[in-house]
Amino acid sequence: MRAFEIGIPALFALAACGGAELNQTRATNVQASLIAAEKVGANDQPKAALHLQLAKEQIESAKRLAADGDQVNSDLMLERAKADADLAMQLARTEQEEQSARQAWEKIRELKQEQVQPPQSGG
């Protein structure tokens, strides 16, 4: 089991220890988005990692707002966190696909080079 699979539920579990609880449905949605983002490697890509971090900070803010009894803004903060988590996932996926495309063209370039200059047989 990877670290994020333990870390993210813990992020939400703590919320339950405070006074008011986070909106359960929204919290679950955010949690799912965070896990999905980390699974596609958002932590390994700087821009995506930044949004992942923002999402986590916003969860903390949502918890504080919930604790203060501001449920409306807590929900909005969770929505913001989800938007950041979704963006992190999208950025990571985009990066992966772009990298695959670059590798595919690199393979073509190598193949063309092989055609121009056939490899010398050993011996």
Partner: protein, 354 residues
């Protein structure tokens, strides 16, 4: 279908909301809202509209909510939060479009790669086919060469066998000997008409054997030396011996010996091999010697020499020539072959006086 229609309307609605906000003269939109509007504009007017309409639709909905919040409570935290969400949705739409674009690129690259591979494979096949063709041609050529070589070897073996046989015949007739690496074939008896240089039938028969024996030495120079006995005029004997040597040379040339290898030398009365005092001795002295030199003993440029100036093996012999022959029964050669001393056969005509 419904979804597509909604996607088409929502950007319009958002634009209307923006216009309304601008005309209302109300509180200015927050920085967050302005940023969100800018991002949304970028999403709906760029590639995202074509490649990721669902994402743009989501952004439009979020933008609508942000504009609604601005309208209800301009500058509020709610407006800012919704604007923030709209900004992220627009960014997601743009990034989603980039992902779609990257996938399209991958597909295009995959197709190009396949085409390239096929081309590569076709070229390799073409090359392989060419090599195979060349190999076949080479093998055929090799086989032909091998056959030709086989035939040549067979011919050569036959020629060698023929030459060996001829040499054996000459040895049996005591007409062949070797001296210092040179092979010397000595022919005596009735070889020419009396006083002339026309080859007798016997001479032709024997020279035919000689020609076959010489075939075994295709690269060695040959010197034909003509000799007479001491009877008669010395100058005439000299000329006669030259003509006779040339007759033999000509015969050999006509029977396959390269003219460049042949040289005729008239030795006259020089180098007798027997006493000129007896009929038998004179018969032995009237002779033709065919000398097969060593390879490096190439003849001088002329193919016909006269006189004893030739560097033939006879010149290396010990005391010879007319004087010694005329002096008595002593012979020039220390150990002449028995055949050289052979007397004319009983049925042979008496040796002509020369």
């Amino acid at each position: 279908m419904l979804n597509t229609r909604r996607t088409r309307y929502i950007p319009g609605l958002a634009a209307l909301a923006l216009a309304a906000a601008a005309c209302g003269g109300a509180v200015a939109p927050s920085t967050e809202l302005l940023t969100a509007r800018q991002a949304y504009d970028q999403a709906r007017s760029g590639e995202a509209a074509r490649l990721n309409p669902t994402g743009v639709h989501e952004a439009a909905k979020a933008m609508q909510a942000a504009e609604g919040a601005h309208k209800d409570d301009a500058g509020s935290q709610r407006e800012k939060n919704y604007a923030y969400i709209a900004l992220r949705k627009s960014e997601i739409a743009i990034a989603g479009a980039s992902e779609a674009l990257a996938k399209q690129e991958q597909q295009r690259a995959g197709e190009t790669y396949q085409a390239q591979l096929e081309q590569h494979s076709q070229q390799a096949e073409q090359q392989r086919s060419q090599f195979a063709q060349q190999l076949t041609q080479t093998q055929v050529q090799l086989q032909q060469n091998s056959q030709v070589l086989g035939l040549r070897q067979q011919e050569l073996q036959q020629a060698r066998a023929e030459a060996d046989k001829a040499q054996a015949e000459l040895r049996n007739a005591d007409a062949l000997r070797e001296e210092e690496g040179r092979m010397i074939i000595s022919l005596s008896g009735v070889l020419f008409e009396s006083g002339g240089a026309t080859l007798s039938r016997l001479a032709e028969q024997r020279l035919e054997t000689v020609a076959r024996a010489l075939a075994a030495y295709p690269d060695r120079p040959i010197v034909v030396e003509g000799y007479t006995d001491s009877q008669g005029n010395e100058d005439k004997n000299q000329q006669l011996s030259q003509r006779r040597a040339e007759a033999v040379r000509e015969y050999l040339q006509q029977h396959g010996i390269d003219a460049q290898r042949l040289r005729a030398v008239g030795k006259g009365e020089a180098d007798p091999v027997a006493s000129n005092d007896t009929v038998e001795g004179r018969a032995n002295n009237r002779r033709v010697e065919i000398i097969v030199d060593r390879v490096n003993d190439s003849p001088s440029s002329a193919t016909s020499d006269t006189g004893a100036s030739s560097a033939g093996p006879a010149s290396t012999r010990a005391a010879g020539g007319r004087d010694s022959a005329a002096a008595g029964s002593s012979t020039a050669r220390p150990a002449p072959s028995p055949s050289l001393r052979r007397a004319p056969a009983a049925d042979e005509p008496a040796p002509p006086k020369e």
